[in-house]
């Protein structure tokens, strides 16, 4: 039963699998056009919602898939890495990242794909990420207390809101479908942008 590493398959495969996963990830992202910064920020201005569609579809597909696999006993979802819910640090970090997203037009994953196809703004963005990480690390003693605060641990949405994960996934799927439809209507009404 999954996850295969580290118990069923040796940990030495981990890095090889990482490369393979990365190749697939980069290929799909680039082919969906998410290496284009103008396409990415379209979701914030209403002229191209590709990001929303790819993102949400991926999340739903993967959630449903994993829940089915968990039900059949092929994978133990509780053993998967979640993100510890450090509420305020995540919110603050997210807002800062949002600002970075809309100024730079990339997020780290798509920035790497842009590097792969030769976009210099992608290189510069990645350089900016390195700089940002460095600045944060040097200033870390100032943030240390805040960084570790309000940690609820690796709690799932179903535990926190006390609903079954299956109902939650159903709700999210419905929300996503509605979002796709609404954004389709919005796009029709927004002035087309050529890029």
């Amino acid at each position: 039963m999954g996850p295969l590493i580290p118990e069923i398959v040796s940990g030495q495969w981990n890095n090889i699998i990482a490369i393979l996963v990365g190749i697939a990830f980069g290929f799909v992202l680039e082919s969906s056009g998410l290496s284009s910064s103008r396409k990415l920020v379209g979701v914030f201005y209403g002229y191209d919602f590709a990001v929303l569609r790819v993102f949400f579809t991926a999340a739903i597909t993967a959630s449903i898939g994993l829940l089915f696999m968990d039900y059949f006993g092929w994978i133990n979802m509780a053993a998967l890495d979640g993100l510890p819910a450090r509420v305020w640090p995540i919110i603050v970090g997210g807002i800062i990242m949002g600002m970075g997203f809309v100024t730079g037009g990339f997020c780290p994953g798509t920035c790497i794909t842009a590097i792969g196809i030769g976009k210099l703004d992608g290189y510069v963005f990645f350089g900016g990420i390195i700089l940002g990480v460095f600045v944060f690390s040097e200033m870390f003693p100032l943030f240390e207390n805040f960084y570790n605060s309000s940690n609820l641990g690796d709690v799932t949405v179903s535990e926190y809101f006390n609903i079954s994960p299956y109902w939650f996934t159903l709700i999210i799927s419905i929300v996503a479908i509605i979002a796709f439809y609404i954004t389709m209507q919005i796009r029709k009404r927004v002035k087309t942008v050529e890029y």
Partner: protein, 241 residues
Amino acid sequence: MKKRYIFLALVPIFLSILLVFLPDKSNSIDAKRNQKSLKSAKYTGITPNNLLLESVNSNRFIQPDELAKIILGQDPSYLLLDLRDAAQYGKFTLPGAINIPYEKILTEENQAIFDSEVYNVVLFSNGTIVSDQVWMVLRRAGIKNLKVLNGGLNQFYQLYLNPPKPLETDPKEAFEIYSFRKAVGAHLGLPNPDEFIPRGATAVQGSTISTGTKPAIKATEKATPAKVVVPEKAESGDEGC
């Protein structure tokens, strides 16, 4: 185009509905989450590195003489925690000690005792092993101000039932400690030592338990004897623990 999308949109909805109504979810993630590995558990306690640093530091041990001083002085800030089972606790325990069998130390009601954080907690059991293990567990749970009684009750009673007589050549301190210990024994209501050497416990050597602290309590201080009167070391099982 439209029709295709409508069909596609219905697929995840249909699959999620299927998931909701699947039978026999006893193996589901909510059930398995209770057996979550430590890696994803909420990490509020001490990190392994710091735990290692604390565990090699012997400051967490409290020596029997220090504890005796605390008991005699009836220091209210100290909470004595008897980690043995209820039967042994009922037979005899230290004055003012409360009983939490160590297997139950992590239940919610028992953890509530540590909530106020005003107490200095002294963990003890028959020996040192169980109380030290509980120290590790409680430190991991983030509880502070813990001390472990070195040698446990076995050594404690050995010390005060039958304090090792100092040799003629020992310094004056040793005699002071000796008279202090006899006084503690009397205060605790311990009877004639020679009749009650605990089974299996060896006589404690004087030099290994010297604390260096001068007993400041007057031996003649009167205090109500605790419910401990006759230390019956008749328990088997984790006697040595």
